[in-house]
């Protein structure tokens, strides 16, 4: 039996990624249970905080994706409740979850990121939607990727190849979030690089190369086995593979993250590594990228989660709103 004590895996909630989150949570729970950890999967609702106070777990693993799990609010609530958890603090998660903010921070740290603008709906309304879109297309060119500033699993994301497709893409994007990120589309090799810190500093796992057979790594391609070809390690030169790993570690550090993260990158046709985004609660489903990378590195998912929970339990909870 593990000496970890009773731990909880939090999943579900009301985010758009509820289903993915429950799937991640079940997988992590099963992996921990198979190692003898006393673990329970808990759906996020109004009963959570009273329960944490009544029967505090030794630590919590967050498998909650989307706004509920990654915008920092739940993490702050855990800190307020005195419950240690795996992963970034609320403050750091908030920065990483906001793609335009994360791009600015990681870009400033020295990693290339595709040119983009982040615009609230009000900007388009006040300045004239079609006119402002025209400027965006002029400056960033086509194709463009339109994505919600905050969100995951490619929900609300559209690759726009013709200007005429932009209005519908904008409407679809704003349905998910109040800020749209319009980013120059970079053709190249899509990578997901997971970073794990077991206490001796953040280390990049082998990069996962993503080849969506439909051409777009959308929601269906992510969660329907068979629709995407994954290569682990990625088919990159040793130099590029090392550079991708270094970029992911740099992003992890620049954003002030803890324990684990997953950074999505593109290697452009010119061989430049371009930063797209970082996830502070990476997916753990059977088609998710961090577990694939861990397996390629010979790390068993249950052991990884158990070790991170140990680390969180020893670290204890943070002061709410603690600096990065």
């Amino acid at each position: 039996m593990s000496d970890l004590g009773h731990v909880l895996v939090l999943a579900g909630g009301l985010s758009y990624e509820r289903e993915v989150s429950l799937s991640s949570g079940r997988r992590v729970t099963d992996a921990l249970a198979s190692l003898g950890v006393e673990v329970e999967l808990v759906d996020i609702d109004a009963q959570l905080l009273p329960r944490l106070l009544q029967d505090p777990p030794s630590a919590v693993f967050l498998a909650v994706h989307g706004i509920e799990g990654e915008d920092g609010g739940l993490r702050d609530a855990l800190d307020l409740s005195g419950v240690p958890y795996v992963g970034a603090t609320g403050s750091a998660a908030r920065l990483a979850f906001d793609k335009p903010v994360a791009k600015a921070i990681v870009g400033r740290a020295g990693v290339h990121t595709p040119p983009s603008v982040a615009l609230q709906h009000a900007a388009f309304r006040d300045l004239g939607g079609p006119a402002l879109l025209e400027r965006v297309v002029e400056r960033l060119g086509l194709p463009l990727v339109v994505k919600p500033a905050r969100g995951g699993s490619a929900l609300g994301v559209t690759v726009v190849r013709e200007a005429a497709e932009l209005p519908a893409a904008m409407v679809g994007c704003y349905s998910y979030d109040g800020v749209a990120l319009l980013e120059r589309h970079i053709a190249g090799v899509e990578l997901a690089v997971s970073v794990v810190d077991d206490g001796s500093g953040p280390v990049a796992l082998p990069a996962v190369e993503i080849e969506a057979l439909s051409g777009t790594f959308d929601y269906a391609s992510r969660y329907t086995a068979g629709m995407t070809e994954y290569h682990v390690p990625a088919r990159l030169s040793p130099e590029l593979a090392a550079a991708a790993g270094a970029a992911a570690v740099l992003a992890h550090q620049a954003l002030g993250l803890r324990d684990l993260s997953r950074t999505d990158l593109i290697v452009s046709a010119e061989g430049t590594i371009e930063y797209l985004e970082t996830n502070v609660a990476p997916g753990m489903t059977t088609t998710s990228l961090l577990p694939l990378a861990a397996a390629a590195a010979g790390i068993e998912l249950g052991s990884l989660c158990r070790d991170l929970l140990h680390r969180a339990a020893v670290r204890g909870f943070s002061a709410p709103g603690a600096p990065l």
Partner: protein, 417 residues
Amino acid sequence: MDMSGGSRLDPYVDRYAARTHGMTTSEIRALFAVANRPEIIGMGGGSPCVSALPLDVIGEMTARLITDHGAQALQYMGGQGDERLRELICGVMALEGISASADDVIVTVGSQQALDVVSRIFLDPGDVVIAEAPSYVGALGTFTQYQADVVHVTMDDAGLVPEALRAAIADVARSGRRAKFVYTVPNYHNPAGITLIEQRRDEIVAICAEAGLLILEDNPYGLLGFDGPPLPALRARVADGIIYLGSFSKTFAAGVRVGWVLAPPGVKEKLIMASEATTLCPVALSQYVVAEFLAHYPWQEQVKVFRELYRARRDACLEALEGSFPAGSSWTRPAGGFYVWVTLPEGIDAKAMLPRAIQGRVAYVPGVGFYSDGQGRRNLRLAYSLPEPDRIREGIRRLAGVLAEELDIVATFGGGG
């Protein structure tokens, strides 16, 4: 795990049948996973209000059934279904003017299994099914699984339009394809909430007979009309050429999964064999429960309870829509059943708006799922069957707010495309 050579994470990916190619997960499925949470006012799924059933009575009845007849109720039975239940089903159908023999009834696992077995015995890949526009999404899914093409026919407020049906039949014939049947939900249509008026029923039957087309009459809501006795079914007019599907999901309980098919004799034999190949037999315990309920409980009184309950919810839904939805919207006014079909103002895409609605804590089903040809972007289905009237009013109020925001966004981008 060595994945350097590439992996699609599904070692069976090259072995699936061609018909599985469309089976992918989707954003809509992800959103519906949230919609089922109690914080969200769910007007998406057409769930019956089973809490209005006498659950204590059904509990005692089921316990007694198992104690007294467990050896039969927990055993396999014939593939056609329990004879006593089939006789009782004939009594149910008689309320809609159908005269039938229990011999021609096959009990199925909900009428969804009936759709499956009917499709299996009739549809070859490339065959055409003619169906209303819009049409029940579960039926479209089944037809698609059998690789049939669906040709939609316009409905108006009086139901399927006879001239449009004639034109569709002629078009299909001209294209060299073979239409096998017309699929219709004549009463309190899912999703449109429309009822085929009496004056058109004979004509629809005649058009199909003349064209040599079977009619697949799907009638789960027929006894749930708010304004008088049920309309005589299409099958009440003629026995040949009509396959009739019934269900206890809406008049008793969806969870028992008991439906039935009434089919012409030759068809019936094939349906029994197809059904046996799927399930061996319909669920024995469920059949015993339904039969006991029909035989010993004043079930028609229970249907009246449901009718009054759904009428109050329909009224709440329509009043709230009237009071809060913007100009440019319209909706149907169902005289029974579970659904209101809403047409949104120009430029609004109900599927694109769904995340905003979920964020606003209200859920509906976007219209595109009820068509096989991409229509329905401006439409959504509201189910008023499950939430209490106050929740319905609140749900519509929330949805009106969501719609106002969406209209603002769409206006910003010149109509939203």
